[in-house]
Protein backbone atom coordinates (compact mmCIF):
# COMPACT_ATOMS: atom_id res chain seq x y z
CA UNK A 1 0.00 0.00 0.00
CA UNK A 2 2.77 2.27 1.01
CA UNK A 3 4.62 1.49 -2.15
CA UNK A 4 1.52 2.23 -4.20
CA UNK A 5 1.08 5.56 -2.53
CA UNK A 6 4.68 6.42 -3.14
CA UNK A 7 4.47 5.41 -6.73
CA UNK A 8 1.30 7.45 -7.15
CA UNK A 9 3.03 10.48 -5.72
CA UNK A 10 5.97 9.77 -7.97
CA UNK A 11 3.65 9.59 -10.93
CA UNK A 12 2.07 12.88 -10.05
CA UNK A 13 5.49 14.43 -9.81
CA UNK A 14 6.45 12.98 -13.14
CA UNK A 15 3.24 14.18 -14.68
CA UNK A 16 3.76 17.66 -13.42
CA UNK A 17 7.39 17.63 -14.45
CA UNK A 18 6.41 16.55 -17.90
CA UNK A 19 3.65 19.09 -18.26
CA UNK A 20 6.00 21.81 -17.03
CA UNK A 21 8.56 20.64 -19.49
CA UNK A 22 6.07 20.75 -22.34
CA UNK A 23 5.07 24.26 -21.35
CA UNK A 24 8.70 25.32 -21.21
CA UNK A 25 9.34 23.83 -24.64
CA UNK A 26 7.56 26.72 -26.22
CA UNK A 27 10.18 29.08 -24.84
CA UNK A 28 12.99 27.43 -26.76
CA UNK A 29 13.22 27.58 -30.51
CA UNK A 30 14.97 24.49 -31.79
CA UNK A 31 17.19 24.67 -34.85
CA UNK A 32 14.80 22.44 -36.74
CA UNK A 33 11.83 24.61 -37.72
CA UNK A 34 8.31 23.59 -36.79
CA UNK A 35 7.12 23.77 -40.38
CA UNK A 36 9.59 21.14 -41.52
CA UNK A 37 8.64 18.84 -38.65
CA UNK A 38 4.95 19.32 -39.38
CA UNK A 39 5.46 18.51 -43.03
CA UNK A 40 7.43 15.34 -42.35
CA UNK A 41 4.97 14.20 -39.70
CA UNK A 42 2.05 14.90 -41.99
CA UNK A 43 3.69 12.77 -44.63
CA UNK A 44 3.83 9.87 -42.24
CA UNK A 45 0.18 10.18 -41.32
CA UNK A 46 0.74 11.70 -37.93
CA UNK A 47 -2.06 13.99 -36.92
CA UNK A 48 -1.93 16.26 -33.94
CA UNK A 49 -3.20 19.76 -33.45
CA UNK A 50 -1.06 20.33 -30.35
CA UNK A 51 1.93 22.47 -31.19
CA UNK A 52 3.81 21.39 -28.07
CA UNK A 53 4.05 17.86 -29.38
CA UNK A 54 5.45 19.17 -32.65
CA UNK A 55 8.01 21.06 -30.64
CA UNK A 56 8.81 17.90 -28.68
CA UNK A 57 9.48 15.98 -31.87
CA UNK A 58 11.63 18.85 -33.14
CA UNK A 59 13.67 18.86 -29.96
CA UNK A 60 14.02 15.07 -29.99
CA UNK A 61 15.26 15.05 -33.57
CA UNK A 62 17.65 17.90 -32.85
CA UNK A 63 19.01 15.89 -29.93
CA UNK A 64 19.50 12.91 -32.21
CA UNK A 65 21.32 14.94 -34.85
CA UNK A 66 23.44 16.60 -32.19
CA UNK A 67 24.43 13.15 -30.92
CA UNK A 68 25.40 11.97 -34.37
CA UNK A 69 27.29 15.18 -35.05
CA UNK A 70 29.16 15.10 -31.78
CA UNK A 71 30.16 11.47 -32.39
CA UNK A 72 31.47 12.48 -35.80
CA UNK A 73 33.34 15.35 -34.20
CA UNK A 74 35.01 12.97 -31.82
CA UNK A 75 36.03 10.73 -34.69
CA UNK A 76 37.38 13.72 -36.57
CA UNK A 77 39.38 14.93 -33.57
CA UNK A 78 40.70 11.44 -32.93
CA UNK A 79 41.86 11.18 -36.51
CA UNK A 80 43.56 14.54 -36.35
CA UNK A 81 45.24 13.65 -33.07
CA UNK A 82 46.47 10.39 -34.58
CA UNK A 83 47.77 12.28 -37.57
CA UNK A 84 49.54 14.81 -35.44
CA UNK A 85 51.11 12.09 -33.37
CA UNK A 86 52.74 10.53 -36.43
CA UNK A 87 54.46 13.69 -37.53
CA UNK A 88 55.26 15.83 -34.60
CA UNK A 89 57.64 18.04 -36.54
CA UNK A 90 54.98 19.15 -39.01
CA UNK A 91 51.74 20.89 -38.28
CA UNK A 92 48.59 18.83 -38.57
CA UNK A 93 47.20 19.18 -42.03
CA UNK A 94 43.61 19.99 -41.15
CA UNK A 95 43.32 22.41 -38.33
CA UNK A 96 39.72 22.92 -39.21
CA UNK A 97 37.18 20.38 -38.10
CA UNK A 98 35.32 19.26 -41.17
CA UNK A 99 32.40 16.85 -41.27
CA UNK A 100 33.20 14.10 -43.74
CA UNK A 101 31.30 11.07 -44.93
CA UNK A 102 33.82 8.80 -43.27
CA UNK A 103 33.23 10.17 -39.81
CA UNK A 104 29.51 10.40 -40.35
CA UNK A 105 29.17 6.79 -41.43
CA UNK A 106 31.26 5.60 -38.52
CA UNK A 107 29.12 7.44 -36.02
CA UNK A 108 25.91 6.28 -37.67
CA UNK A 109 27.05 2.71 -37.50
CA UNK A 110 27.70 3.10 -33.80
CA UNK A 111 24.57 4.92 -32.91
CA UNK A 112 22.68 1.87 -34.01
CA UNK A 113 19.30 3.50 -34.29
CA UNK A 114 18.75 2.33 -37.73
CA UNK A 115 17.73 -1.22 -37.15
CA UNK A 116 14.48 0.09 -35.84
CA UNK A 117 13.89 2.54 -38.63
CA UNK A 118 12.61 0.82 -41.71
CA UNK A 119 15.67 1.44 -43.78
CA UNK A 120 19.17 0.28 -43.10
CA UNK A 121 20.95 3.47 -43.83
CA UNK A 122 23.75 3.86 -41.39
CA UNK A 123 25.38 0.53 -42.03
CA UNK A 124 25.37 0.94 -45.77
CA UNK A 125 26.64 4.44 -46.08
CA UNK A 126 29.93 3.87 -47.74
CA UNK A 127 32.20 5.59 -50.16
CA UNK A 128 31.51 4.89 -53.78
CA UNK A 129 34.39 3.39 -55.59
CA UNK A 130 35.88 5.67 -58.14
CA UNK A 131 38.78 5.61 -60.50
CA UNK A 132 41.59 7.95 -59.64
CA UNK A 133 44.58 8.93 -61.65
CA UNK A 134 47.00 8.80 -58.79
CA UNK A 135 47.65 5.88 -56.46
CA UNK A 136 47.71 8.16 -53.46
CA UNK A 137 44.44 9.92 -54.25
CA UNK A 138 41.80 9.41 -51.61
CA UNK A 139 44.16 8.00 -49.08
CA UNK A 140 43.99 9.14 -45.51
CA UNK A 141 45.68 12.55 -45.48
CA UNK A 142 47.50 11.69 -42.28
CA UNK A 143 49.33 8.82 -43.93
CA UNK A 144 50.02 10.57 -47.18
CA UNK A 145 53.50 11.92 -47.73
CA UNK A 146 53.50 15.62 -48.50
Amino acid sequence: MNHKQQSNDGKHDDDSALSDFLASLMDYTPSIPDELVEHCLAKSGFQCPDVRLIRLVAVASQKFVAEVASDSLQHCKARQAAGAKDKRDKQPKDKRLILTMDDLSKSLREVGHFESIDFVYGVNVKQQEYFADNPSTGMDPASRDE
Partner: protein, 362 residues
Protein backbone atom coordinates in the same frame (compact mmCIF):
# COMPACT_ATOMS: atom_id res chain seq x y z
CA UNK B 1 32.04 5.52 -61.12
CA UNK B 2 30.45 2.62 -59.41
CA UNK B 3 26.75 2.78 -58.89
CA UNK B 4 26.69 -0.13 -56.53
CA UNK B 5 25.66 1.89 -53.54
CA UNK B 6 22.59 3.16 -55.29
CA UNK B 7 21.60 -0.28 -56.49
CA UNK B 8 21.94 -1.67 -53.03
CA UNK B 9 19.72 1.04 -51.68
CA UNK B 10 17.11 0.30 -54.30
CA UNK B 11 17.17 -3.38 -53.44
CA UNK B 12 16.62 -2.69 -49.80
CA UNK B 13 13.17 -1.41 -50.40
CA UNK B 14 11.53 1.41 -52.18
CA UNK B 15 9.07 1.88 -49.37
CA UNK B 16 11.64 3.78 -47.39
CA UNK B 17 12.22 6.27 -50.16
CA UNK B 18 9.39 8.57 -49.34
CA UNK B 19 11.56 11.62 -49.62
CA UNK B 20 13.07 11.05 -53.01
CA UNK B 21 10.66 12.94 -55.19
CA UNK B 22 11.08 16.46 -56.48
CA UNK B 23 8.28 17.76 -54.33
CA UNK B 24 10.37 17.16 -51.24
CA UNK B 25 13.26 19.27 -52.42
CA UNK B 26 12.11 22.18 -50.34
CA UNK B 27 11.91 20.10 -47.18
CA UNK B 28 15.37 18.68 -47.85
CA UNK B 29 16.79 22.13 -48.44
CA UNK B 30 15.41 23.34 -45.12
CA UNK B 31 16.77 20.23 -43.44
CA UNK B 32 20.21 20.99 -44.91
CA UNK B 33 20.22 24.42 -43.32
CA UNK B 34 19.04 22.97 -40.02
CA UNK B 35 21.73 20.26 -40.15
CA UNK B 36 24.37 22.88 -40.86
CA UNK B 37 23.21 24.92 -37.89
CA UNK B 38 23.33 21.89 -35.60
CA UNK B 39 26.82 20.97 -36.84
CA UNK B 40 27.91 24.52 -36.18
CA UNK B 41 26.55 24.43 -32.64
CA UNK B 42 28.32 21.10 -32.01
CA UNK B 43 31.65 22.57 -33.06
CA UNK B 44 32.29 21.75 -36.70
CA UNK B 45 33.92 24.42 -38.81
CA UNK B 46 33.09 22.98 -42.18
CA UNK B 47 31.52 20.04 -43.89
CA UNK B 48 31.58 18.05 -47.07
CA UNK B 49 28.47 18.57 -49.14
CA UNK B 50 27.79 14.86 -49.40
CA UNK B 51 28.00 14.50 -45.64
CA UNK B 52 25.61 17.40 -45.13
CA UNK B 53 23.14 15.97 -47.61
CA UNK B 54 23.28 12.62 -45.86
CA UNK B 55 22.70 14.24 -42.50
CA UNK B 56 19.78 16.28 -43.75
CA UNK B 57 18.27 13.18 -45.30
CA UNK B 58 18.64 11.43 -41.95
CA UNK B 59 16.86 14.26 -40.13
CA UNK B 60 13.91 14.01 -42.45
CA UNK B 61 13.74 10.24 -42.23
CA UNK B 62 14.05 10.30 -38.46
CA UNK B 63 11.13 12.67 -38.07
CA UNK B 64 9.19 10.58 -40.55
CA UNK B 65 9.79 7.40 -38.60
CA UNK B 66 8.81 9.05 -35.30
CA UNK B 67 5.56 10.09 -36.93
CA UNK B 68 5.00 6.66 -38.37
CA UNK B 69 5.45 4.81 -35.10
CA UNK B 70 3.44 7.39 -33.14
CA UNK B 71 0.63 7.10 -35.65
CA UNK B 72 0.76 3.33 -35.36
CA UNK B 73 0.45 3.48 -31.58
CA UNK B 74 -2.43 5.91 -31.86
CA UNK B 75 -4.25 3.71 -34.35
CA UNK B 76 -3.73 0.68 -32.14
CA UNK B 77 -5.34 2.62 -29.35
CA UNK B 78 -8.33 3.36 -31.54
CA UNK B 79 -7.44 7.00 -32.02
CA UNK B 80 -6.86 9.09 -35.08
CA UNK B 81 -4.88 11.83 -33.41
CA UNK B 82 -1.68 10.95 -31.64
CA UNK B 83 -0.90 12.19 -28.16
CA UNK B 84 2.14 12.59 -25.97
CA UNK B 85 2.32 8.93 -25.00
CA UNK B 86 2.29 7.81 -28.60
CA UNK B 87 5.24 10.05 -29.31
CA UNK B 88 7.15 8.77 -26.32
CA UNK B 89 6.45 5.20 -27.41
CA UNK B 90 7.77 6.05 -30.85
CA UNK B 91 10.89 7.62 -29.41
CA UNK B 92 11.47 4.62 -27.21
CA UNK B 93 11.22 2.33 -30.20
CA UNK B 94 13.79 4.33 -32.06
CA UNK B 95 16.03 4.58 -29.07
CA UNK B 96 15.79 0.92 -28.19
CA UNK B 97 18.69 0.06 -30.46
CA UNK B 98 21.11 2.00 -28.34
CA UNK B 99 19.18 1.67 -25.14
CA UNK B 100 17.99 4.18 -22.63
CA UNK B 101 17.77 4.26 -18.88
CA UNK B 102 14.95 2.18 -17.53
CA UNK B 103 14.38 0.20 -20.70
CA UNK B 104 14.50 -3.08 -18.87
CA UNK B 105 11.98 -2.17 -16.18
CA UNK B 106 8.85 -4.22 -16.43
CA UNK B 107 6.38 -1.78 -14.98
CA UNK B 108 7.87 1.45 -16.14
CA UNK B 109 5.66 4.37 -16.79
CA UNK B 110 5.88 6.06 -20.08
CA UNK B 111 6.00 9.43 -18.43
CA UNK B 112 9.01 8.44 -16.41
CA UNK B 113 10.95 7.01 -19.29
CA UNK B 114 14.64 7.63 -19.71
CA UNK B 115 14.07 9.07 -23.15
CA UNK B 116 12.08 11.95 -21.77
CA UNK B 117 14.63 12.59 -19.08
CA UNK B 118 17.37 12.66 -21.69
CA UNK B 119 15.44 15.18 -23.71
CA UNK B 120 14.85 17.33 -20.66
CA UNK B 121 18.58 17.30 -19.93
CA UNK B 122 19.36 18.14 -23.50
CA UNK B 123 17.02 21.12 -23.47
CA UNK B 124 18.60 22.30 -20.27
CA UNK B 125 22.18 21.99 -21.51
CA UNK B 126 22.18 22.93 -25.13
CA UNK B 127 21.99 26.44 -26.60
CA UNK B 128 19.18 26.69 -28.96
CA UNK B 129 19.98 28.66 -32.05
CA UNK B 130 16.75 29.40 -33.89
CA UNK B 131 16.44 28.55 -37.54
CA UNK B 132 18.12 31.07 -39.81
CA UNK B 133 15.26 31.69 -42.19
CA UNK B 134 11.58 32.35 -41.93
CA UNK B 135 9.93 29.24 -43.20
CA UNK B 136 6.44 29.56 -44.62
CA UNK B 137 3.88 26.88 -44.10
CA UNK B 138 4.32 24.27 -46.76
CA UNK B 139 3.18 22.59 -48.88
CA UNK B 140 0.93 25.35 -50.07
CA UNK B 141 -2.48 24.01 -50.81
CA UNK B 142 -3.77 25.28 -54.11
CA UNK B 143 -7.38 26.25 -54.07
CA UNK B 144 -9.24 24.31 -56.68
CA UNK B 145 -11.42 26.35 -58.91
CA UNK B 146 -14.63 24.45 -58.62
CA UNK B 147 -16.81 24.12 -61.62
CA UNK B 148 -20.29 24.24 -60.27
CA UNK B 149 -22.72 21.46 -60.78
CA UNK B 150 -25.60 21.70 -63.19
CA UNK B 151 -27.90 22.44 -60.30
CA UNK B 152 -25.71 25.23 -58.98
CA UNK B 153 -25.40 26.82 -62.36
CA UNK B 154 -29.08 26.54 -62.98
CA UNK B 155 -28.58 24.62 -66.18
CA UNK B 156 -30.41 21.59 -67.35
CA UNK B 157 -28.08 18.69 -67.99
CA UNK B 158 -28.09 17.70 -71.67
CA UNK B 159 -29.71 14.34 -71.28
CA UNK B 160 -31.76 12.55 -68.72
CA UNK B 161 -28.95 10.17 -67.94
CA UNK B 162 -26.86 12.98 -66.50
CA UNK B 163 -27.76 13.83 -62.88
CA UNK B 164 -27.85 17.47 -61.99
CA UNK B 165 -25.39 17.21 -59.15
CA UNK B 166 -22.52 16.41 -61.50
CA UNK B 167 -20.17 19.21 -62.55
CA UNK B 168 -21.39 21.19 -65.53
CA UNK B 169 -19.93 20.78 -69.00
CA UNK B 170 -17.29 23.31 -70.04
CA UNK B 171 -18.25 26.39 -72.01
CA UNK B 172 -18.57 25.41 -75.67
CA UNK B 173 -16.59 28.42 -76.82
CA UNK B 174 -13.49 26.98 -75.25
CA UNK B 175 -13.44 24.08 -77.62
CA UNK B 176 -15.34 25.32 -80.67
CA UNK B 177 -14.38 28.01 -83.18
CA UNK B 178 -16.39 31.04 -84.04
CA UNK B 179 -17.53 29.60 -87.33
CA UNK B 180 -18.94 26.55 -85.67
CA UNK B 181 -20.67 28.74 -83.15
CA UNK B 182 -22.03 31.01 -85.84
CA UNK B 183 -23.12 28.35 -88.26
CA UNK B 184 -24.86 26.37 -85.59
CA UNK B 185 -25.55 28.74 -82.78
CA UNK B 186 -28.69 27.02 -81.75
CA UNK B 187 -27.16 23.61 -81.53
CA UNK B 188 -24.74 24.76 -78.89
CA UNK B 189 -27.16 26.60 -76.69
CA UNK B 190 -29.92 24.06 -76.87
CA UNK B 191 -29.55 21.27 -74.36
CA UNK B 192 -30.42 18.30 -76.56
CA UNK B 193 -28.36 17.59 -79.65
CA UNK B 194 -28.92 15.10 -82.33
CA UNK B 195 -26.22 12.68 -83.38
CA UNK B 196 -25.58 14.42 -86.66
CA UNK B 197 -25.16 17.76 -84.94
CA UNK B 198 -22.75 16.20 -82.45
CA UNK B 199 -20.72 14.74 -85.25
CA UNK B 200 -20.55 18.06 -87.04
CA UNK B 201 -19.53 19.81 -83.84
CA UNK B 202 -16.80 17.23 -83.37
CA UNK B 203 -15.56 17.80 -86.89
CA UNK B 204 -15.53 21.51 -86.38
CA UNK B 205 -13.72 21.08 -83.07
CA UNK B 206 -10.98 19.13 -84.78
CA UNK B 207 -10.76 21.67 -87.54
CA UNK B 208 -10.64 24.52 -85.07
CA UNK B 209 -7.75 22.92 -83.22
CA UNK B 210 -5.94 22.38 -86.48
CA UNK B 211 -6.58 25.94 -87.48
CA UNK B 212 -5.31 27.13 -84.18
CA UNK B 213 -2.07 25.28 -84.72
CA UNK B 214 -1.80 26.69 -88.19
CA UNK B 215 -2.53 30.10 -86.86
CA UNK B 216 0.25 29.89 -84.38
CA UNK B 217 2.62 28.50 -86.97
CA UNK B 218 1.75 31.15 -89.50
CA UNK B 219 1.91 33.96 -87.06
CA UNK B 220 5.64 33.81 -87.12
CA UNK B 221 6.12 34.49 -90.80
CA UNK B 222 2.94 36.16 -91.76
CA UNK B 223 3.15 39.13 -89.51
CA UNK B 224 -0.59 39.36 -89.49
CA UNK B 225 -2.69 39.47 -86.42
CA UNK B 226 -3.42 36.37 -84.53
CA UNK B 227 -7.12 36.75 -84.74
CA UNK B 228 -8.07 39.58 -86.93
CA UNK B 229 -7.51 43.27 -86.66
CA UNK B 230 -10.27 43.92 -84.23
CA UNK B 231 -8.63 41.65 -81.72
CA UNK B 232 -5.02 42.57 -82.25
CA UNK B 233 -4.87 45.36 -79.75
CA UNK B 234 -6.91 43.47 -77.26
CA UNK B 235 -4.77 40.40 -77.63
CA UNK B 236 -1.77 42.54 -77.00
CA UNK B 237 -3.34 43.85 -73.86
CA UNK B 238 -4.21 40.36 -72.76
CA UNK B 239 -0.67 39.19 -72.90
CA UNK B 240 0.91 42.31 -71.63
CA UNK B 241 2.62 40.38 -68.93
CA UNK B 242 4.36 37.99 -71.30
CA UNK B 243 5.82 39.78 -74.32
CA UNK B 244 6.28 36.52 -76.20
CA UNK B 245 2.57 35.94 -76.26
CA UNK B 246 1.70 39.37 -77.53
CA UNK B 247 0.34 39.67 -81.02
CA UNK B 248 2.78 41.08 -83.51
CA UNK B 249 2.48 44.74 -84.42
CA UNK B 250 0.95 45.98 -87.62
CA UNK B 251 2.49 48.61 -89.80
CA UNK B 252 1.88 52.05 -88.47
CA UNK B 253 0.76 50.94 -85.04
CA UNK B 254 4.11 51.56 -83.48
CA UNK B 255 7.16 53.31 -84.70
CA UNK B 256 9.44 50.37 -85.05
CA UNK B 257 12.34 50.91 -87.29
CA UNK B 258 13.13 47.62 -88.89
CA UNK B 259 15.31 47.33 -91.89
CA UNK B 260 13.47 45.84 -94.85
CA UNK B 261 14.36 42.27 -95.64
CA UNK B 262 15.31 41.40 -99.17
CA UNK B 263 13.30 38.40 -100.18
CA UNK B 264 14.93 35.63 -102.11
CA UNK B 265 13.44 35.14 -105.58
CA UNK B 266 11.88 31.83 -104.64
CA UNK B 267 9.59 33.28 -102.09
CA UNK B 268 8.70 36.49 -103.80
CA UNK B 269 6.09 34.72 -105.90
CA UNK B 270 4.33 33.49 -102.85
CA UNK B 271 4.35 36.89 -101.24
CA UNK B 272 3.15 38.70 -104.34
CA UNK B 273 0.38 36.19 -104.71
CA UNK B 274 -0.78 37.02 -101.24
CA UNK B 275 -0.30 40.71 -101.69
CA UNK B 276 -2.15 40.75 -104.95
CA UNK B 277 -5.46 39.76 -103.45
CA UNK B 278 -6.28 42.56 -101.09
CA UNK B 279 -9.93 42.64 -101.85
CA UNK B 280 -10.67 38.99 -101.89
CA UNK B 281 -8.06 38.33 -99.30
CA UNK B 282 -10.24 35.95 -97.41
CA UNK B 283 -11.10 33.79 -100.35
CA UNK B 284 -7.55 33.78 -101.55
CA UNK B 285 -6.41 32.72 -98.12
CA UNK B 286 -8.84 29.94 -98.07
CA UNK B 287 -7.53 28.52 -101.27
CA UNK B 288 -3.91 28.74 -100.37
CA UNK B 289 -4.62 27.35 -97.02
CA UNK B 290 -7.07 24.70 -97.90
CA UNK B 291 -4.35 22.91 -99.76
CA UNK B 292 -2.03 23.21 -96.82
CA UNK B 293 -4.68 21.96 -94.47
CA UNK B 294 -5.47 19.01 -96.69
CA UNK B 295 -1.83 18.18 -96.98
CA UNK B 296 -1.39 18.27 -93.28
CA UNK B 297 -4.53 16.31 -92.70
CA UNK B 298 -3.45 13.55 -95.00
CA UNK B 299 -0.35 13.31 -92.93
CA UNK B 300 2.10 13.29 -95.74
CA UNK B 301 5.61 13.60 -94.56
CA UNK B 302 6.70 15.34 -97.72
CA UNK B 303 4.17 18.07 -97.44
CA UNK B 304 5.04 18.53 -93.83
CA UNK B 305 8.69 18.78 -94.63
CA UNK B 306 7.89 21.11 -97.46
CA UNK B 307 5.80 23.14 -95.15
CA UNK B 308 8.55 23.18 -92.60
CA UNK B 309 10.96 24.32 -95.26
CA UNK B 310 8.51 26.99 -96.19
CA UNK B 311 8.28 28.04 -92.60
CA UNK B 312 11.99 28.27 -92.04
CA UNK B 313 12.72 30.11 -95.24
CA UNK B 314 9.80 32.44 -94.80
CA UNK B 315 10.79 33.56 -91.39
CA UNK B 316 12.71 36.61 -92.59
CA UNK B 317 9.58 37.94 -94.24
CA UNK B 318 8.23 39.09 -90.94
CA UNK B 319 8.33 42.81 -91.25
CA UNK B 320 6.46 45.60 -89.64
CA UNK B 321 6.34 48.10 -92.45
CA UNK B 322 4.85 46.22 -95.35
CA UNK B 323 1.20 46.82 -95.76
CA UNK B 324 0.09 43.25 -95.79
CA UNK B 325 -3.60 42.80 -95.73
CA UNK B 326 -4.98 42.73 -92.28
CA UNK B 327 -6.40 39.23 -92.30
CA UNK B 328 -3.92 36.53 -91.59
CA UNK B 329 -3.72 33.40 -93.63
CA UNK B 330 -4.42 31.24 -90.69
CA UNK B 331 -7.85 32.60 -89.99
CA UNK B 332 -9.81 30.18 -92.13
CA UNK B 333 -12.88 30.62 -89.99
CA UNK B 334 -12.69 34.32 -90.66
CA UNK B 335 -14.23 33.98 -94.06
CA UNK B 336 -17.49 34.86 -92.48
CA UNK B 337 -17.93 38.59 -92.81
CA UNK B 338 -20.02 38.78 -89.70
CA UNK B 339 -16.98 38.91 -87.45
CA UNK B 340 -17.78 42.27 -86.09
CA UNK B 341 -21.10 41.13 -84.81
CA UNK B 342 -19.63 38.85 -82.18
CA UNK B 343 -19.15 40.10 -78.65
CA UNK B 344 -15.67 41.37 -77.97
CA UNK B 345 -15.48 40.04 -74.44
CA UNK B 346 -16.48 36.62 -75.59
CA UNK B 347 -13.71 36.59 -78.17
CA UNK B 348 -11.18 37.78 -75.70
CA UNK B 349 -12.02 35.02 -73.27
CA UNK B 350 -12.06 32.34 -75.89
CA UNK B 351 -8.80 33.38 -77.38
CA UNK B 352 -7.15 33.39 -74.01
CA UNK B 353 -8.29 29.89 -73.20
CA UNK B 354 -7.41 28.48 -76.60
CA UNK B 355 -3.96 29.98 -76.53
CA UNK B 356 -3.33 28.76 -73.03
CA UNK B 357 -4.27 25.25 -74.04
CA UNK B 358 -2.12 25.31 -77.11
CA UNK B 359 0.88 26.60 -75.22
CA UNK B 360 0.41 23.97 -72.57
CA UNK B 361 0.14 21.24 -75.14
CA UNK B 362 3.18 22.39 -77.10
Amino acid sequence: MNNGCLEQRKKEGSKSFKFGSKSDDFALAIAKVAAAQVCDSVGFQGFHLSALETLSDIIVRYIFSIGKSANLSANLGGRVEANLFDIIHGLEELGSGLGFAGASDVDRCVVNSGIVRDIIHFVGDADFVPFAYDVPRFPVVKELKEIGSFREKGEDPPGEHIPSWLPAFPVPETYATRSSVENEPMSVSIGKETESVLASVERKTKRSLLNLQLRIANNEYEGGSLHGVENASRAREDFEGNPYLAAPLHSGEKDVEVSPVVLPAKLSNEVTLRNSVPGNAIVGNNETFASAIDAMKSGLCDSNNGKKKLLSTQRPTLRFKIGIRKKSLGTVPDFNPRNEDLEKDDKKRRVETILKESIQSS
